[in-house]
């Protein structure tokens, strides 16, 4: 049975890799219609495999869970690859943003189905006002030159606090207008039908991403000015602080529904394959287009040589902050999708030791390779979780520990033998970037006409 299971696991990994690489190949075709058809087809194939047809399902619940986890982890790892792989900022804070996204989104939908719209209203107004205030302060500060980071950070912080307080006030004031339509958990109101819940869920995922991005902006602004390894330690500290706050979310923070260290239960399981696939493809497409734009090239230039990048006129601090904010946005999206798949959030999941997982994935897959990150994420989740199931039956509770013994050894060997990661910076298909084929000129310009 063990051998059969392992073989099955291997076949699944090969199938999912073929699926992903095939999808990326289809997306690389020039015609937009082929791309759209490829996306729809890729969605439909897995949806079909997940559907119960006459009692037969190609992918069982276990695989289903692995698939959703892999989608969420892909978003997180791609975000980290943008920060560390493409922009060279060694960040250990990705897991903290993942947790922030998960808790924020879970809070919105949990409150919504229990007849309380404040989560959505406060985060919605916060996203709107906060972004407006931050952009406004940014525009205003551009009038001055040579402002120390401390001063601009203080101004941004004060602005964000004012925006947050306003958002909370507005949310509390507007809440009674919406509450009658929500009903209670027993009797769902008109705004709590399954379709409405899906809409709220999509909103909550995006708001969670924006919330994580705002926090990463405030945190990254001062911290990104530190050196590379100091930045790593500071972001590790961020993950630890976020985890501490999660453990005390019902005592220090005013969120009794998060239940502190006991874990938040009762989150509606709203993640469908459509949403997981949608958000994953959204992240992949946004990131691929970003990397191959001039902004993305400036990010890579900052990684290669900051001084040279500055000499070329690139705003180095701005580029670092941009990569950090976008990467954290992806992490927030991933966390939100994860929270609504698993239905239960515990601070133990967002422990800083687990926060090394995306780092290991990114380093394995290859720094600066989206293909590598996606491959490593899916391979990692399916292989390790599959192995865990086999090992658990053999070794009992020691299996997870063994896993963590084998990681570092592999990591050490990788650092010694192939420090650029398994795939280096190789890209495949769609992720390789647009191909610019020179268009043959139908009317060659006369060479010497305007010479006089």
């Amino acid at each position: 049975m063990e051998l059969g299971f392992l073989l099955g696991s291997l076949v699944k990994i090969i199938a999912i890799m073929a699926y992903l690489y095939g999808l990326m190949w289809v997306l690389a075709r020039p015609s937009i219609w082929i791309k759209i058809a490829g996306l729809i087809g890729a969605f439909a194939v897995v949806q079909l495999a997940l559907t119960d047809i006459n009692g037969f399902r190609l992918l069982n619940n276990f695989d289903n869970g692995l698939l959703f986890q892999a989608c969420a982890m892909t978003m997180v790892a791609l975000g980290l690859n943008l920060i560390y792989g493409f922009n060279g900022q060694f960040s250990l804070g990705q897991w903290g943003f993942y947790g922030i996204g998960a808790y924020a989104a879970a809070d919105i939908t949990y409150r919504w189905i229990n007849g309380d719209a404040r989560g959505l209203l406060v985060l919605g107004f916060g996203a709107l006002l906060g972004t407006l205030v931050l952009i406004g302060i940014n525009k205003w500060l551009q009038r001055f030159r040579g402002i120390p980071v401390l001063s601009s950070f203080t101004l941004y912080l004060i602005g964000a606090l004012i925006a947050g307080v306003t958002a909370v006030y507005l949310g509390n004031q507007l809440n009674p207008l919406i509450t009658p339509f929500l009903g209670t958990a027993g009797e769902p109101g008109p705004l709590n039908t399954p379709a409405a819940q899906q809409v709220i869920y999509f909103l909550s995922v995006i708001l969670a991403g924006i919330f994580a991005a705002q926090i990463s902006f405030l945190f990254g602004l001062p911290v990104l000015t530190l050196g590379s390894d100091y930045f790593g330690i500071a972001t590790l500290g961020f993950t630890i602080v976020v985890n501490t706050l999660m453990v005390n979310s019902d005592t220090i923070l005013p969120f009794p529904e998060m239940k502190g260290g006991r874990g938040m239960i009762g989150i509606p399981k709203l993640t469908t394959w459509f949403s997981a696939f949608f958000f994953m493809m959204l992240v992949i497409i946004i990131m691929r287009n970003l990397i191959h734009s001039s902004t993305g090239r400036s990010l890579v230039a900052v990684r290669e040589d900051e001084v040279a990048a500055k000499a070329m006129g690139i705003d180095v601090a701005g580029a670092k902050l941009f990569a950090f904010v976008v990467g954290s946005f992806f992490a927030g999206l991933g966390g939100a999708v994860y929270a609504h798949y698993i239905g239960f959030l515990s601070p133990g999941t967002f422990d800083f030791l687990a926060g090394f997982n995306p780092l290991i994935i990114v380093v394995f897959g290859g720094l600066g390779s989206m293909t590598g990150t996606i491959t490593a994420t899916f391979g990692w989740i399916f292989f390790l979780e599959g192995m865990l199931r086999v090992l658990l039956s053999q070794m009992g509770t020691e299996a997870p520990t063994w896993r963590f013994v084998l990681y570092p050894i592999t990591l050490l060997l990788l650092m010694l033998i192939r420090p650029q990661g398994l795939l280096g910076s190789v890209e495949w298909g769609f992720l390789k970037g647009p191909e610019f084929t020179p268009v043959p000129r139908s009317h060659p310009e006369p060479a010497h006409e305007s010479a006089a």
Binding site: R143, F144, R145, V149, A234, G237, V241, F356, L412
Partner: protein, 373 residues
């Protein structure tokens, strides 16, 4: 006719603008607020304040022992040695096995039955500490040779990831059942805890009794930690200032290439630095375990990180800086536990790190960097 200026956002050049001081003013206000809270609490209940101060001192002296290893290694190899905290953990576990399993702390009385029991315990405890230091030294040299040496010329981040890997390996390999087991293990102390309280003079807390209200208690462990920590500081100062290997260490820290050209065996010096730091961490681990009497395999992570913060606070690469920084960190943590809330202790440590790096990246005693790394 006027020429139209195309600039929509005029750039204002001010030589002195108030915005320069907004940030520093904000942090100064924060500092004043902290001082105000501490002052109010000091006036309100001086005994409690003194008690918290003593526990902070104890924590700070333990951090000082760990921070030395971080600061020395960073000074020479420019590597944040993540595994240092786990070496500290191994030191604690070594002493646990030596005491609870092999009764090593009783050897003087077993070998020489006529020896005074008090003296026997002292010699036994010193043996245990020395054994832990030895084990940690061997471990650190092994780690350095196996993991860090091949990466000496690699990018700094590769070495940092390797260090994280080594740290993980020690934690989770130790958590296997045939190694240390993943459980929390109550630590058996090699000697009895004797506590005193200060109220109208110093009195001993008799066994089975409690210290009276409004008194300051301290124990012999507190005194031992301070003693050992100060001893280590003095020894390290002597080692670095007066001995040949210490001079070699300082030379390597200043310029490794030039030191190599001057005939210094740089690899040996680096190994020696790792070994010395690990030995101090091992001693710290024993004392930490004796003081808090509960050990597990992830014991070393947070004290290690906080000791690193202490080293940064004092100015990384500076030995007195690490000491002062560790004392400040200990106080900050104890005051947080006493006056804000216990779980926020970790948050405060990293907040201090970020604030220090923003306001004075070189730390209290640090020299300005020659070039940007």
């Amino acid at each position: 006719m006027q020429t139209v200026s195309a600039s929509s956002t005029p750039v204002i050049y001010h030589r002195r603008q108030p915005l320069l001081w907004v940030g520093r003013g904000f942090f100064a206000l924060l500092g004043l607020l902290v001082l105000y809270i501490l002052g109010v609490n000091l006036v309100k209940n001086p005994t409690l304040f003194a008690q918290i101060f003593i526990s902070g001192l104890q924590l700070g002296f333990v951090y000082a022992m760990i921070a030395l290893g971080y600061t020395m290694v960073y000074g020479i190899v420019k590597l944040i040695n993540f595994a240092h905290g786990d070496v500290f953990m191994v030191g604690a576990f070594t002493s646990f096995y030596a005491v609870a399993k092999y009764r090593l702390h009783q050897w003087p009385n077993a070998v020489f039955p006529n020896l005074d029991p008090g003296l026997g315990v002292v010699i036994g405890a010193i043996t245990v500490i020395l054994l832990s230091m030895l084990v940690c030294m061997i471990l650190a040299i092994t780690i350095e040779r196996v993991a860090y040496k091949p990466l000496r010329d690699a990018p700094r981040i590769s070495a940092l990831i390797t260090a994280i890997g080594v740290s993980f390996f020690l934690e989770f390999y130790g958590a296997l059942n045939f190694v240390f087991s993943p459980r929390f293990i109550p630590y058996e102390r090699p000697f009895e805890v004797v506590a005193w309280y200060i109220k109208d003079g110093i009195h001993r807390v008799l066994p089975g009794q409690q210290a009276p209200e409004n008194s300051i208690t301290f124990s012999n462990i507190f005194l031992i930690i301070i003693g050992v920590s100060l001893l280590i500081q003095l020894f390290l100062q002597y080692l670095v200032r007066r001995t040949k290997i210490g001079i070699a260490m300082r030379a390597c820290s200043y310029d490794r290439q030039a030191a190599r050209l001057m005939g210094i065996d740089v690899d040996r010096v680096i190994s020696f630095t790792f070994a010395v730091g690990a030995a101090f961490a091992g001693a710290g681990g024993v004392l930490y375990a004796i003081a808090y009497s509960l050990i597990w395999t992830q014991l070393g992570i947070l004290p290690g990180l906080k000791a690193f913060v202490a080293a940064v606070l004092g100015g990384i690469g500076s030995i007195p800086g690490a000491f002062v920084g560790a004392l400040i960190m200990g106080q900050a943590e104890a005051m947080t536990m006493g006056y804000i809330s216990t779980p926020m202790r970790d948050a405060v440590a990293f907040t201090i790190l970020i604030i220090v790096l923003l306001l004075r990246p070189t730390g209290i005693f640090g020299e300005p960097e020659k070039e940007k790394a």
